[in-house]
């Protein structure tokens, strides 16, 4: 069964200059109830891996360096 990959605009943005995932931080990943954030180990930065966001904001609130911003998902905006 052939499948396509359709790009979507993601609501969670990470400021890579501020993100300290390379120092072992995983706070945003740990607090997400939907488990949609992940760490890119090559870059040592967090990123939104799955477009399944409830825009509930613990990732933004608990980030120790203020690297995470939650936008309202485009379809709702």
């Amino acid at each position: 069964m052939p499948i396509a990959f359709t790009p979507t605009s993601l609501p969670v943005r990470i400021n890579e200059e501020l993100c300290i995932a390379n120092k072992g931080c995983t706070v945003c990943v740990d607090v997400c109830p939907l488990d949609v954030l992940a760490i890119d180990f090559d870059k040592g930065k967090a990123y939104m891996k799955f477009d399944e966001c409830w825009y509930c904001m613990p990732c933004e609130k608990d980030c120790p360096t203020g690297a995470v911003t939650v936008d309202i998902p485009y379809l709702l905006r």
Binding site: M1, D35, E52, W54, Y55, C56, M57, I72, L76
Partner: protein, 443 residues
């Protein structure tokens, strides 16, 4: 606070296990639960004398008008897994036909909270800025009046705050933009909505199952016992109508105490290897398929069908067609494929959503009357019929099939005055009457 308490008493916490089925003993009592890790896909068998289900609402049942699968009213983590697990363990569910439908901020799909702003002077208004309901507290009849206004010439419906004083609006903003759904301020900002200037457009939510706000849940008695020995339930999932958060805490305590007492007098049941193997095969199947249907696509179609065929006003023929479409989707479940443990979680959630959709249709078809305003508004059975239907509608798995039956209502513990029994039906503000009262006041 809860977290600190759990830490202090050294409760093991695991946050990334997705429970999929309960284990039962030969006599039908509880023997534990099965789960998989949504990061590694490891399969876990948890043997236990008792299980307390506290998995929340079935929040991913209907599709929000935005079309965004996770833009639900309920936390979308709660896909209805608990309803499905209780059902397959043989527990009775109750009031499933009493859907949850809420008045929400359009598109944002979070609570507009007219009832929170009520004590400060805010209210639900029509497009003329006028009140049309006596009470902003969420109920089926309130939703019926909301629906009528929304669909009628006075729609849409709004949250009105722009008549209030600056300091009052400041207080309201402080409450609404920091509690429950704190991103709401960001949403209003994006739309250029200021409570001082504009009313906030509201809309009707997708349907869900949630006893906390309606009555649809796993049947429990006053000890939080389900009909399966050793299985307890609390919170939005347990049929304790309109229990909200306070009720969840109270019933959580009751469930814990009841379960502890049960544990003290019960032996751990034997492990049924056949059950484990069956469930392991079901859970891992989507990972083993080289290709197939992506979970998000099947979920979208299933939930779009839920909207098309189950969203009230309920129509018998539509719900029958809905059941036929859900049967088609059941076949699709055998073709779900997942490329990683995260997608596996979504694939298994589609199974739970499918169970909830079928339960919602069957319970609704069984109750051939209308009750609770919009929650169970059947166009072809429009009257409330207390003679035949002042009962609970129960739903249970019997010989592998979904069966509905009646359970009598226990007598009121506190007697109600006659006039108190009709307040629910008098939700709409009657213009002529209010004019008459005004006239009397002047006299």
């Amino acid at each position: 606070m809860l977290y600190r308490r759990l830490k202090r008493v050294r409760v093991d916490i695991t946050n990334r296990l997705v429970a999929t089925r309960l284990l039962t003993a030969a006599d039908g009592s509880i023997a534990g639960a099965m789960a998989f890790d949504c990061r590694t896909a490891d399969f876990h068998v948890i043997r236990a004398k008792t299980v307390i289900l506290a998995t929340g609402a079935a929040g991913r049942l209907g599709l929000p008008a935005s079309g965004y699968l996770f833009g639900t009213y309920e936390n979308p983590t709660n896909a209805g897994d608990g309803y499905s697990m209780a059902y397959h363990a043989g527990a009775e569910l109750s009031g499933i036909e009493c859907f949850q439908i809420n008045p929400l901020i359009k598109d944002y799909n979070g609570p507009a909270c007219a009832y929170v702003t009520g004590p400060l002077g805010g209210y639900t208004a029509n497009n003329k800025g006028e009140r049309f309901i006596e009470c902003d507290y969420w109920s089926g009849q309130m939703m019926m009046e909301f629906y009528r206004e929304l669909e009628g010439g006075n729609g849409p419906v709004f949250l009105k705050l722009n008549h209030l004083a600056e300091e009052t609006i400041g207080t309201i903003e402080n409450i609404l933009h920091t509690n429950e759904r704190p991103s709401r301020g960001r949403f209003h900002e994006g739309r250029g909505t200021d409570y001082r200037q504009q009313m906030v457009e509201m809309h009707i939510s997708e349907i869900g199952l949630c006893s906390g706000h309606s009555a649809s849940g796993v049947w429990v008695n006053e000890h939080a016992e389900t009909t399966v020995p050793g299985l307890y339930a609390a919170g939005d999932l347990a049929c304790v109508p309109h229990n909200y958060m306070l009720g969840a805490f109270v019933y959580g305590k009751i469930a814990g105490e009841s379960a502890a007492a049960y544990c003290a007098n019960t032996e751990l049941a034997e492990l049924d290897e056949a059950q484990v193997e069956r469930e392991r095969a079901r859970v891992w199947a989507p990972l083993s398929r080289p290709d197939g249907l992506p979970p998000a696509q099947v979920e979208y179609k299933l939930r779009r069908l839920v909207n098309d065929y189950l969203q009230p006003p309920k129509v018998t023929r539509k719900m029958e067609i809905g059941l036929a479409r859900f049967a088609d989707i059941r076949a699709d479940l055998e073709h779900l494929f997942a490329r990683d443990p995260h997608e596996l979680m979504r694939a298994l959630e589609v199974h739970a959503i499918h169970d909830c959709a079928e339960m919602a249709a069957r319970a609704s078809l069984f109750r051939t009357e209308s009750r609770w305003g919009l929650y169970h508004h059947r166009v072809d059975h429009p009257e409330t019929n207390d003679e035949d239907w002042f009962v609970h509608v129960q739903l249970k798995k019997v010989d592998g099939e979904m069966q509905c039956f009646k359970r009598p209502i226990e007598p009121y513990i506190i007697d109600l005055n006659e006039h108190e029994k009709t307040a629910y039906q008098k939700m709409r503000i009657v213009k002529a009457e209010s004019a008459q009262i005004q006239a009397q006041i002047k006299e």
